[in-house]
Amino acid sequence: MLLLALDTATPAVTVALHDGSDVIASAAQVDARRHGELLLPAVDRVLAEAGLRLDAVTGIVVGIGPGPYTGLRVGLMTADTFGLALGVPVHGVCTLDGLAYAADIEKGPFVVATDARRKEVYWARYADSRTRVTDPAVDRPADIADQVAGLPAVGAGALLYPDTFPQAHEPEHVSAAALAGLAAERLAAGEELPAPRPLYLRRPDAQVPKNYKVVTPK
């Protein structure tokens, strides 16, 4: 087994190669505005570090969010197209699950929260690092204070709102290495992973911008 994992659902652009038992190589850069530019060079670097070519990969693992849409789609579109070109399966993993796995908490409960912008967080509750007990949701921190009270929390969304998450700690962002590790465990156990489709959790802003189709430079 050789998995190429990638995630662009948080400000981190993260890529890892995993052979089923260990991470062989990984890369991560935090830049919320440049997912599109950074991802392919990161894949290239990780492969070079491992001395492998992309066609050695037997499966793709991709973070399906929830996350800010534009960045999220970069990872998903890249994974989809790799899958098409290589003829290998593409597995989805909830990005919050990847963070929970990276947190390495054997006994919860705890919360994972990422930054959803607009003063909201994407979040879910976990019984332990491998067991999510609520569906991923998007809410204002103050509105979920009761549901997360007294629980440790990880992720940038938790670190950003200490009033709601006083026990927030690292990891801040998901890592593709964790995503791959979790996927490898689940695949080895014969579990089915979700389809690589995005978790947007919000409807699109259905506003037609002024001069909506104008793309001719001034």
Binding site: G36, P41, L84, K218
Partner: protein, 363 residues
């Protein structure tokens, strides 16, 4: 012919997910998935809706194009993609797909300009572009007059709209007349049964001191809307066919007049018209009439190649390969305001990314 470059092109600058395949100037496949129906109730393209649709449609559309062309992805000589201009989020989906596809197949990547692609697509219809060529691009997003002496390296803007795009004016007038979205085809249909001289609507920017090649449709749009509202306020029936015909005439009169004038001023013997509005029957007829009178050869591709599609991107990509233009780097980004003069986005000189890549790619 087998020596000509086989290129797959991806276009996602607005609401069409287009994947086309060409061999040189021969069209092999033109697969398009449109999200236009999802935008109709908003009266315009909603960027986030378009971006979501591109992500879902991309892989099936690539598959469809390959089947249609009857070629194997392994045989491609390059992957071309619209790098801009366009909607930022929508462009990024196409650029991500193109990069991943090119990288996985070990093919060079060409990020190209959407407007230059609109011009280059005519090669698939009428053969190699004459050099120079004058191009009038008119759609919901563009109203530009461009001149090119080499479509891979030299596109000069002579004029553009200073407010609304021509197609936008069609959409807005259709909305005022309650005819739905998009407005172009339906206005064209009603106009055929109306009198183009029934109402004298203004011709924007046609005064002696106005910029000779720029366009303005905002004043026209307001004049037409006011005229309709005045009729309604007076309790009179709005003559939809005459309004459609007179409005359309005002638009195409200015477009063709300025395009022909540009050809004459610059001594260019060929005019190509592209973009969705090029499907307008009156625009085609009047352009033909005026070009003939001026001794200019008119080239208008079939309507399906005028609207946004992947074949036009593939056509320009094939020309990039044929003329040995530099490929793009793996850090190619989508540029929503890519200048029209940037026909493509070549990789940087000291490209370590590319150096490393060669070892990882298929031989």
């Amino acid at each position: 012919m087998a020596d000509e470059p086989l290129v797959l092109g991806i276009e996602t600058s607005c609401d069409e997910t287009g994947v086309g395949i060409v061999r040189g100037t021969t069209l092999l496949a033109d697969a398009v998935a449109s999200s236009v129906d999802e935008h109709a109730r908003f009266g315009g393209v909603v960027p986030e809706v378009a971006s979501r649709a591109h992500l879902e449609a991309m892989v099936p559309t690539i598959d469809r194009a390959l089947k249609e062309a009857g070629v194997s992805a392994r045989d491609l000589d390059g992957i071309a993609v619209t790098a801009g201009p366009g909607l930022a989020g929508a462009l990024l989906v196409g650029v991500s797909a193109a990069k991943a596809y090119a990288y996985a197949l070990g093919k060079p990547l060409y990020g190209v300009n959407h407007l230059a692609s609109h011009i280059c697509v005519d090669q698939l219809e009428h053969g190699a572009l004459p050099e120079p060529t004058m191009a009038l691009l008119v759609s919901g997003g563009h109203s530009s007059l461009l001149m090119s002496t080499d479509i891979t390296s030299d596109v000069r803007p002579l004029g553009a709209t200073i407010d609304d795009a021509a197609g936008e004016a069609f959409d807005k007038i259709a909305r005022v007349l309650d005819l739905g979205f998009p407005g172009g085809p339906v206005i064209d249909r009603y106009a055929r049964e109306g009198d183009p001289e029934a109402i004298a609507f203004p011709r924007g920017l046609t005064g002696p001191r106005d910029a000779p090649y720029d366009f303005s449709f905002s004043g026209l749009k307001t004049a037409v809307a006011r005229w309709i509202e005045a009729k309604r306020a007076a309790g009179e029936e709005v003559p939809v066919r005459d309004v459609a015909a007179s409005f359309q005439e005002a638009v195409v009169d200015v477009l063709t007049r300025k395009a022909v004038r540009a050809c004459k001023d610059e001594g260019v013997g060929h005019l190509m018209i592209g973009g969705g509005v090029a499907a307008n029957s009156r625009l085609r007829a009047l352009a033909q009439e005026r070009c003939e009178a001026a001794g200019i050869q008119l080239r208008v591709p079939r309507p399906k190649l005028c609207t946004d599609n992947g074949a036009m991107v593939a056509a320009l990509g094939a020309e990039m390969v044929a003329r040995n233009r530099a490929a793009s780097s793996w850090d190619l980004s989508a540029d929503s305001s890519l200048p029209v003069t940037d026909t493509h986005v070549p990789g940087h000189g000291h490209d370590h990314v590319h150096e490393v890549s060669k070892e990882n790619l298929y031989s």
